[in-house]
């Protein structure tokens, strides 16, 4: 209790530092830069922060970290923009946002989708910051409980809660997911240290980068589909309404349960270093199952935007905590921020909260203010971004293609990746035409590697015994949840059969 009171004193002091006019200005600049970085697929938060890192050496450590974290927030916000407008997720955790966000944009509700996305991001992030403020030391302890078995259980839960959510036949979902796993397996086998499935082609050393796959499958695939349908965006009829923000806000409170659930999922996934991507997929999958409008998910349901965005941002923010307290970055962007901290002689780890309390609480205070500044800034841009859809498709399509190509190139500075992007584009088009869902494929590419790694690490540690996944209450309960989630369609069917058979004799 005493410690919490002490933390609040530090936090109050932190607000004093963060609300300095110069720092507020830095926040605004950081958010704007971040949004631009987030909008350009491939540039990504990590690259953006890395490029701008040297610029901050002339500032005090606090100002510098405020600028850099605000770029991070901005990139998180910005990732939603391209997902909604063009079906191109700029960051892995924006993939789930495209499922309902883009259909909304196509039916002329881009403004609503963007407002919902930004607002949810803010709520998720805010929830996570409050959690960090209140229970930081406990949370760091919880994160330490996660060994390979627990991590695998979390990935298993993410996959399981996703199975059965697509409208397509389960067999097609599984085929799509298996293609994803196969693609994820290309490259270096982390456990044996040997190459696999590269067929001696040096370009394949790195495996298939998630971003290349996503830009191709979603971005290029979408353009091909739209071309076939007759060279126009259906979203062009959208009216630009400056009041769209207020109108959307009025509808949002009724999704409070989804929001709260997604906040909790996000915080949990952010702390256990699973990260924002499984959080967004899981929140979407669960919302689809629990929501009254679940059947309509995928056709432009606003709740389908709220759930993944809230969870992704709660996770992205909560991930700052393990970084500060344990020195393990939860995302590539966080890794670059970590490098920044080191240059200022701030060594993340258990002692950072004790020895550099002023810095840490200044940073946390700047998270509060940065997110508020960010929300205001991005909301004012909603009408602007929504109006992009009024540009004729024949003009915007080549621009998107060029941006996609640049994005694919910047991931590894490699022309081969641009070719791969095109191949993925055609694959995405074919899969869509034959009604194979893309989401399981993407999920498998993103998480397949990590899940496999955790699985094999667990088995190495247990000497090959699968019992390791039931070896303590924590891992058992996550695995149990996963099994229930994965088998839910069967369980639900069983229930309805039971009810049906018990109803008949009556």
């Amino acid at each position: 209790m005493n410690m919490i009171a002490e933390n609040f004193t530090y936090l109050y002091h932190g607000f004093g530092i963060a609300s300095d006019p110069f720092n507020i200005l830095l926040m605004a600049i950081g958010i704007l830069l971040g949004v631009i970085i987030g909008v350009l697929p491939g540039l990504g938060g990590a690259n953006g922060v890395a490029i701008l890192l040297p610029l901050t050496f002339s500032m005090s450590p606090t100002s510098a970290i405020i600028l850099l974290t605000c770029i991070y927030w901005g990139a998180l916000f910005g990732g939603a923009i391209t997902s909604v407008l063009f079906n191109i997720p700029g960051e892995p955790w924006s993939v789930a946002t495209t499922f309902d966000g883009h259909p909304m944009a196509r039916s002329g509700r881009a403004g609503e989708a963007l407002t919902a996305a930004f607002t949810s991001s803010f709520i998720g992030a805010f929830f996570a910051i409050v959690m960090i403020t209140l229970i930081a030391p406990l949370v760091a302890q919880f994160a330490l409980q996660f060994g390979p078995a627990e991590k695998f259980a979390v990935y298993f839960l993410a996959f399981a809660s996703f199975v059965g959510m697509s409208k397509e036949a389960p067999a097609k979902t599984i085929v799509s997911m298996m293609i994803g796993f196969a693609l994820a397996a290309v490259g270096l086998d982390m456990v044996t240290g040997q190459l696999r499935l590269t067929f001696g082609i040096t370009e394949l050393l790195n495996g298939f980068d998630f971003l290349i796959a996503v830009i191709g499958l979603f971005g290029i695939g979408e353009i091909l589909l739209t071309m076939e349908e007759g060279l126009e965006f259906r979203g062009k009829a959208a009216k630009i309404d400056p009041k769209v923000v207020w109108k959307t806000w009025k509808t949002l409170p009724k999704f409070w349960a989804t929001s709260l659930r997604s906040c909790v999922i996000g915080c949990w996934m952010g702390i256990t270093p699973a990260g924002a991507t499984p959080a967004s997929f899981m929140a979407y999958g669960i919302a689809k199952r629990v929501s009254k409008n679940g059947k309509n998910f995928g056709n432009g349901e606003i709740e389908g935007v709220v759930a993944p965005e809230t969870a992704a941002h709660a996770a992205g923010t909560a991930a700052m905590l393990p970084m500060l307290a344990l020195g393990v970055p939860g995302s590539p962007t966080a890794a670059v921020l970590l490098g920044g901290l080191l240059i200022w002689g701030l060594q993340p780890g258990p002692m950072l909260f004790v020895e550099q309390a002023e810095f840490v609480w200044g940073l946390i205070a700047s998270m509060y203010l940065g997110n508020i500044v960010g929300l205001i800034l991005v909301l004012t841009t909603v009408p602007l971004f929504a109006s992009i859809l009024r540009i004729p498709f024949s003009i915007i399509a080549p621009v998107i293609l060029v941006i996609c190509a640049i994005g694919a190139y910047t991931v590894n500075n490699n022309v081969f990746d641009v070719l791969m992007m095109m191949v993925f584009g055609v694959l995405g088009y074919l899969l869509k035409k034959t009604n194979y869902p893309l989401a399981p494929l993407v999920l498998a590419i993103v998480l397949g590697d990590s899940a496999e790694e955790a699985f094999r690490q667990s088995l190495l540690g247990s000497g090959g015994s699968i019992a390791v996944f039931w070896s303590n209450p924590l891992v058992s309960s996550i695995m149990g949840l996963g099994l229930v989630a994965g088998l839910w369609p069967l369980i639900a069917m069983g229930f309805s059969k039971l009810r049906g058979s018990s109803a008949q004799p009556a």
């Binding site: 040297p54 050496f57 409980q145 390979p148 190459l195 020195g327 590539p332 890794a335 190495l460």
Partner: protein
């Protein structure tokens, strides 16, 4: 004759003048566009931290007229990064930082490159390896831990490390050989993750580099037992209680005859001129004088050996032979 002589002298002077004016011009080769700094490893690891610190120092002290841009190419255990540099023949605007994967990756994966395909610039430092256990374990000294391993059946103790068939596993194999007992080696993606897994009690020990585990040590979460070097570290600043890096004994003195140091060096593509190499050697000499670099060396308890030119090449030759021997013994060579 006199005239001719004067002419000859004039010519010689002119030649000399040209040579003189050429010399500073040649030595003063400078990058004309941003220099790519390839890191053949992921973000957040030891090599990445060093590269980003270098980027920071060079930008802060304005040591280079253009920018240094750090790019991670970690595919194929770093093979992607090395191949990229190898294929950029004669490009002076690209440098790469190396770790032990310079030797281990081609041996373990068969990816076609060798350090001789690159132009060695300088050894910046050597990274130490320390044997760590969780601070709650009862083992206060390396001897106690060795005795526990020897007393238990094979594969009872779990050693966590970065990557597979790379430096951490090479050291683990050497420890196994020295103790005559098998350890279960569990590979993780990065050193920071290994340190956290050790704190969480999911592994029994690690051979983390000092910088990867120092913050956990300061928080009294992990305990160093011994250092895999021939002599104790020189750094005497107190880190945990009364302990400093210098109070960690060598493994050899603790009855574990294993030594290993890892190269942190810089290379350029093949076919660059000596002037271009000299430019970067001078650049890194300047970096070594900055307080930020000295701080990094102290924080990470680095071995501050600096080498360039033939001395460095000879060292590389020696290190390659050592690695080949170690990996052959461990059965890590590709195709085995």
């Amino acid at each position: 004759m006199k005239h001719l002589h004067a002419l000859g002298l004039g010519a010689v002077t002119a030649l000399g003048m040209t040579a003189l004016s050429m010399l500073p011009a040649a030595a003063a080769w400078e990058p004309t566009k941003p220099v790519e700094f390839i890191v053949p490893a992921g973000t957040g690891g030891g090599a990445d931290q060093m590269a980003r610190t270098l980027q920071g120092i060079i930008a802060k002290h304005d040591l280079m007229s253009t920018q240094l841009v750090v790019i991670n190419k970690s595919g194929g255990a770093g093979g992607e990064g090395f191949l990229d540099v190898k294929s950029n023949k004669g490009n002076p605007h690209k440098i790469v930082i190396s770790l032990s994967n310079l030797f281990t990756t081609p041996l373990a994966t068969g990816i076609p490159f060798n350090w001789k395909d690159l132009t060695p610039v300088a050894m910046l430092a050597l990274d130490e390896f320390v044997l760590w256990v969780n601070a709650q374990e009862p083992y206060k000294t390396a001897q106690e831990y060795e005795a526990a391993i020897k007393a238990a059946p094979d594969n009872t103790f779990k050693m966590g490390g970065t990557g597979s068939k790379q430096e951490d596993q090479i050291i683990t194999v050497a420890i196994q050989k020295a103790l005559g007992k098998k350890l279960t080696y569990i590979p993780y993606k990065g050193g920071g993750e290994v340190a956290v897994q050790l704190v969480g009690g999911h592994i029994n020990s690690s051979v983390n580099n000092p910088i990867e585990a120092v913050s956990q040590w300061r928080g009294d979460k992990v305990r160093p037992l011994c250092v895999f070097d021939s002599k104790p570290l020189p750094y005497t600043d107190k880190i945990q209680g009364d302990m400093s890096w210098s109070s960690v004994p060598t493994c050899k003195s603790a009855g574990l005859d294993v030594e290993y140091l890892m190269l942190r060096g810089v290379f350029m593509p093949p076919g660059v001129s000596q002037e271009q190499v000299d430019y970067f050697v001078e650049l890194f000499k300047k970096v070594r004088e900055t307080p930020e670099w000295k701080q990094l060396m102290k924080d990470g308890a680095f071995n501050q050996t600096f080498m360039a030119g033939d001395e460095f090449k000879a060292w590389l030759d020696q290190a390659e032979t050592t690695h080949k021997g170690l990996m052959q013994e461990a059965g890590f060579i590709a195709g085995n």
